[in-house]
């Protein structure tokens, strides 16, 4: 196909604003899928994604569309919708020339929309604002258009007003995609350069690589080299998603498609890498980097015998998720386990659920912690991946933590409350922009650790659910941070310690002990809880000893049943670990986190 008949675009939208619905309508109109064959919302396919209503992995689909007698190839590239996967979003956008900015006119612009739209602007994409759900009586398209203009400086007065649900206006959106989004440039006869913007693992075919041909032509059986990793592969099959994988003899400059080789591990392919024909000298496409782990948490099998099973499970998961990292770790309290690195909190939750669901593992998970950096007296820097691993204060000069640039969109009436929460979380005010008479954008620099602690919960409750948030890590900053230790019956439990700002250690210590008190069951003896910095005790709590726990009646007919009952109560909470003589349930290990009932 001639590049001038190709359009590569994505849809930017906040969760639930109608991206999947619009994509489905477009596929229907193109005739690529018959309506009755269509599973609702074709583009999301993992069970987990469906449940959580998010798109974890980018997908792409190629459909033909005829307009005014000319046939076009439309490549719709789906983007993940969460800040944890920003890098993937960036790469997907790099594969496009334009983006449909889809905003639910009954909700207005949300923080995530703004964040992703900025990524699109940075990637130099043509942006087509579209107002969705105008069939709803409470839709307010004019105000929404104004918000788009004010938050993104994008002309939106003639934005298409559509209903993805009824289909009204969808053809107009496609017309605009064809008329306004530029055709890809790139020379099909030049040396091959293709951008890898995604990769998925398939049990039967190995790794399936999503690519955008930037220059040149990729043919079946080509020997290709990944410029970033240096790995060499032979293309066994290439093709397009129509939306099923359909083999094709070649993919030319401007086209989007896939290739399959005998790649066994997702780790062998890096999103953002450039693919070239082996032996040619071409320049790498910009913006490639290794996945950056912002959050770490330790997983320990509840049953120490499951350590190997856990390793196998993590290995299997990392086949299909190259951004997951893991390495063995030991804890005094919890024994042998794995420290895992995640792109963010959502990513962590997804992995946790997959371990439990797909691998049926019972585990203890420590509260997630950000990656800290220490600077030693000689200027040497070192990463600290968990509070337990922080050396003594005499071992370093500075302790630095990651800072996030946080942008929040909220109704104006909540400004005061949100500013209060932000400064309570050590936020530094950056900017305030009024998007419309009723909505405002606030920007703060807030330590990532504070966001993880309970900032998001607080924001949600202070704005009655109307506030949305997006953030981006901007760098590291030294601060007066200390290790808050938790002692259970005078024994330090490394898996419960946290790094906190000195000024908040007291409150934090108290809050953690309160929660532990609720989570740890009563024992035969008093359980004493202490929070401390170094040798200084900041707070104490105690869990009184059990006073009464005895079966009144136990005769021959009851023995087996009563014994099983007691055994169940003992093992009961399957996720319990013994630290010294104290049984600590899984939930207690998350007590270090804020929020109501984490």
């Amino acid at each position: 196909m001639d590049p001038k008949h190709i359009r590569n675009f994505s849809i930017i939208a906040h969760i639930d604003h109608g991206k999947s619905t619009l994509a489905d309508r477009m596929l229907e109109l193109s005739g690529a899928v018959r309506k009755r064959d269509m599973k609702d919302q074709l583009l999301d396919d993992m069970e987990l994604e469906r449940e959580r209503g998010i798109t974890i992995k980018a997908r792409a689909v190629t459909v033909p569309y005829t307009l005014d007698g000319e046939t076009y190839q439309l490549n719709l590239i789906d983007t993940p919708g969460h800040v944890d996967f920003n890098y993937e979003v960036e790469k997907s956008m790099q594969a496009c020339e334009g983006a449909v900015l889809l905003v639910d006119a009954s909700q207005g612009v949300e923080a995530q929309t703004v964040a992703n739209a900025y990524l699109a602007i940075e990637a130099d994409l043509e942006i087509l604002p579209v107002l969705n759900k105008v069939d709803l009586s409470h839709a307010r398209p004019d105000e929404t258009a104004e918000e788009i203009e004010n938050s993104l400086a994008i002309e939106a007065t003639d934005a298409a007003a559509i209903s993805a649900k009824t289909g009204v206006g969808v053809e107009e959106v496609i017309r605009r995609v064809i008329e306004r989004i530029p055709a890809p440039t790139g020379d099909p006869n030049a040396a091959l350069r293709a951008l890898i913007f995604d990769a998925v693992y398939d049990e039967y075919r190995g790794v399936i690589v999503y690519l955008r041909v930037v220059d040149g032509t990729l043919r079946k059986k080509d020997l290709v080299r990944m410029l970033g990793t240096g790995k060499i592969f032979e293309t066994v099959e290439i093709g397009r998603f129509t939306p099923k994988m359909t083999a094709a003899p070649e993919l030319r400059a401007g086209e989007v498609g896939y290739f399959v080789s005998n790649i066994k591990k997702l780790g062998d392919v890096r999103v953002g890498d450039t693919m070239a024909i082996k032996g040619t000298e071409v320049k790498m496409l910009p913006g490639y980097r290794e996945p950056q782990h912002m959050v770490y948490a330790d997983f320990y099998p509840t049953n120490p015998g499951d350590y190997e099973t856990m390793r196998d499970a993590l290995e299997t998961l990392s086949l299909s998720d190259s951004s997951l990292s893991f390495e063995p770790v030991t804890s005094d309290a919890l024994g042998f386990g794995y420290r895992c690195g995640f792109l963010g909190l959502l990513h962590m939750e997804i992995i946790e659920q997959r371990l439990e669901r797909e691998h049926d593992l019972d585990m203890i998970q420590t509260a997630p912690s950000v990656t800290y950096k220490i600077v030693k007296a000689d200027g040497e820097e070192e990463w600290v991946y968990s509070p337990g691993a922080l050396p003594g204060p005499d071992q370093f000069e500075e302790l630095c933590e990651p800072i996030a640039r946080v942008s929040m969109l909220l109704p104006t009436e909540f400004i005061g409350a949100v500013m209060q929460i932000s400064s309570d979380h050590r936020g530094l005010f950056i900017r305030q922009d009024h998007l419309s008479p009723t909505r405002v954008q606030l920007m703060y620099d807030i330590p990532l650790a504070e966001i993880m602690y309970d900032f998001y919960d607080k924001l949600k409750s202070a704005t009655r659910g109307y506030g949305t948030l997006n953030y981006e890590i901007t760098g590291y900053k030294a601060d007066d941070l200390v290790k808050l230790k938790i002692l259970v019956n005078a024994k330090e439990v490394d898996a419960l310690s946290a790094i906190v700002h000195r000024s908040r250690a007291d409150t934090r210590g108290r809050a953690t002990l309160k929660k532990l008190r609720k989570e740890i069951p009563r024992h035969l003896f008093e359980v004493r809880l202490q929070a401390a910095i170094g040798a200084k005790i900041l707070a104490r709590e105690s869990i009184a000893a059990l006073r009464k726990d005895v079966t009144a009646k136990c005769y021959g007919g009851d023995i087996s049943r009563k014994r099983k009952l007691l055994e169940k109560q003992k093992a009961g909470k399957r996720r319990m670990r013994q630290v010294g003589d104290v049984d600590i349930p899984q939930k207690a290990f998350l007590s270090v986190l804020g929020g109501e009932d984490k």
């Binding site: 035969l524 003896f525 007919g557 099983k564």
Partner: protein, 401 residues
């Protein structure tokens, strides 16, 4: 293996345990009551329209195959054995004697009785038929509490039944009581208790009320229409009971059981010593060797199974030696005399010696925390350990894992 919780008639039968040795204690479960008490989770059903003779026949058929010869002790429980008429009792007990020779062999023969069905004539009949000991379900001497419990008798009837047993010449009488009834204060319990002790029973069982799943009380508790008494009150009532019984010459020999000299219930002590026993009748459990098995909980399904092949067992289990050891400790510590480690190992069939005995590590730790103490070659609960006996027991049940 089927679970002991299962009551489904579809449960598959399990092979019966092998025949118990001569002398093994015998339990016979008679599953009918005048009405179902609100706290009770024993298997029993109201006797209205029930075929007592059919049940007797089935029990005898099961006994024919499974009852031990010359049992050391016999216990007729339920249910309410006193609900049977004299004729029904005579038939059942005579035939059972013909099968096992219990009248000659048993040192202790108990029948559970309830006030509404025990008068002097019934008491005399029981005595004549070979029963030596009666356990009378009084439960409370407060009529409002009795009504709440769903009992069908008054406190006056209970006192009359007690007198009837004495008048008939029964020398071994136990009174069953329940404390910590909803709304009961420690003072009120104490006064009920004093009145019971004034009767000079030979034995007293005083149970802290428990809300067992499947009972009406449990349901009401969940709905919030009744509430248990505060923990401190329960503890106070336990203390009161122990003190008052001691004054009355009844020694506490198990968590809920008090006896005058020589009056401890040998049949029950055998359970706490984790000894063998054979149970006959619906829901009855047997322990033979290291295996336990239980009969189906259901009248019709019991009758049907016995009718088919004389076997009503629906679950069985055999624990490994370490688990048996833990179980032996858990049960044995309920007894005031406690557990002798070497005997526990022998009972459990645990082959290692003291140096490999995992229970002793738990003992050492519980000694340090003050929950158990040594007395000669025995280990027993301390006063601090008694009210938390389950938590102590759990430590033993957890050994070896």
């Amino acid at each position: 293996m089927a679970s002991p919780f299962s009551t489904s008639p579809k449960t598959r039968p399990v092979p019966p345990l092998s025949r118990a040795k001569a002398g093994t204690p015998l339990y016979v479960h008679l599953p009918f009551c005048a009405a179902k008490c609100h706290y009770c989770d024993f298997f029993s059903v109201p006797d209205e329209d029930q075929d007592v003779d059919g049940m007797s026949a089935a029990i005898l058929r099961e006994a024919e195959r499974r009852a031990p010869r010359s049992p050391r002790t016999v216990f007729f429980g339920g249910g309410t054995p006193s609900l049977f008429t004299e004729g029904q009792l005579a038939h059942l007990l005579d035939r059972l004697d013909a099968l096992t020779g219990w009248r000659a062999s048993a040192r202790e023969v108990t029948a559970e009785c309830n006030p509404e069905s025990l008068d002097e004539a019934k008491a005399r009949a029981l005595l004549r038929l070979g029963v030596r000991r009666v356990s009378l379900g009084v439960q409370s001497l407060d009529d409002a509490t009795l009504a709440r419990f769903g009992r069908v008798h008054t406190s006056a009837q209970a006192l009359r039944a007690y007198d009837a047993a004495r008048a008939a010449g029964l020398d071994h009488v136990n009174v069953d009581m329940i404390y910590a009834a909803p709304g009961q204060s420690p003072a009120r319990w104490e006064s009920e208790l004093e009145r019971v002790l004034a009767l000079e029973p030979d034995h007293l069982s005083a149970y802290n009320l428990t809300f067992e799943p499947g009972t009406r009380f449990h349901l009401e508790l969940q709905r919030g229409s009744i509430a248990g008494v505060p923990e401190e009150d329960e503890l106070a009532m336990l203390d009161t009971t122990r003190a008052a019984c001691a004054r009355a010459g009844l020694e506490p020999y198990e968590i809920s059981n008090y006896a005058g000299p020589g009056e401890a219930c040998e049949h029950n002590v055998n359970y706490w010593n984790n000894g063998p026993y054979v149970g006959i009748g619906p829901s009855a459990v047997s322990k033979v060797g290291h295996a336990r098995a239980g009969n189906v909980r259901g009248i019709a399904s019991y009758l049907a199974r016995i009718g088919a092949d004389g076997n009503a067992a629906v679950w069985s289990e055999e624990l490994g030696p370490v688990a048996r050891l833990g179980e032996t400790w858990w049960l044995g510590l309920r007894l005031a005399r406690g557990v002798e480690p070497a005997r526990a190992r022998a009972t459990a069939g645990f082959e290692g010696g003291a140096d490999r005995d995992p229970a002793l590590e738990v003992v050492a730790s519980l000694e340090r925390s003050g929950h158990v103490e040594r007395e000669g070659d025995r280990v027993r609960l301390t006063p601090a350990g008694l009210p938390v006996a389950d938590a102590v027991g759990r430590r033993f049940l957890g050994i070896g894992r």
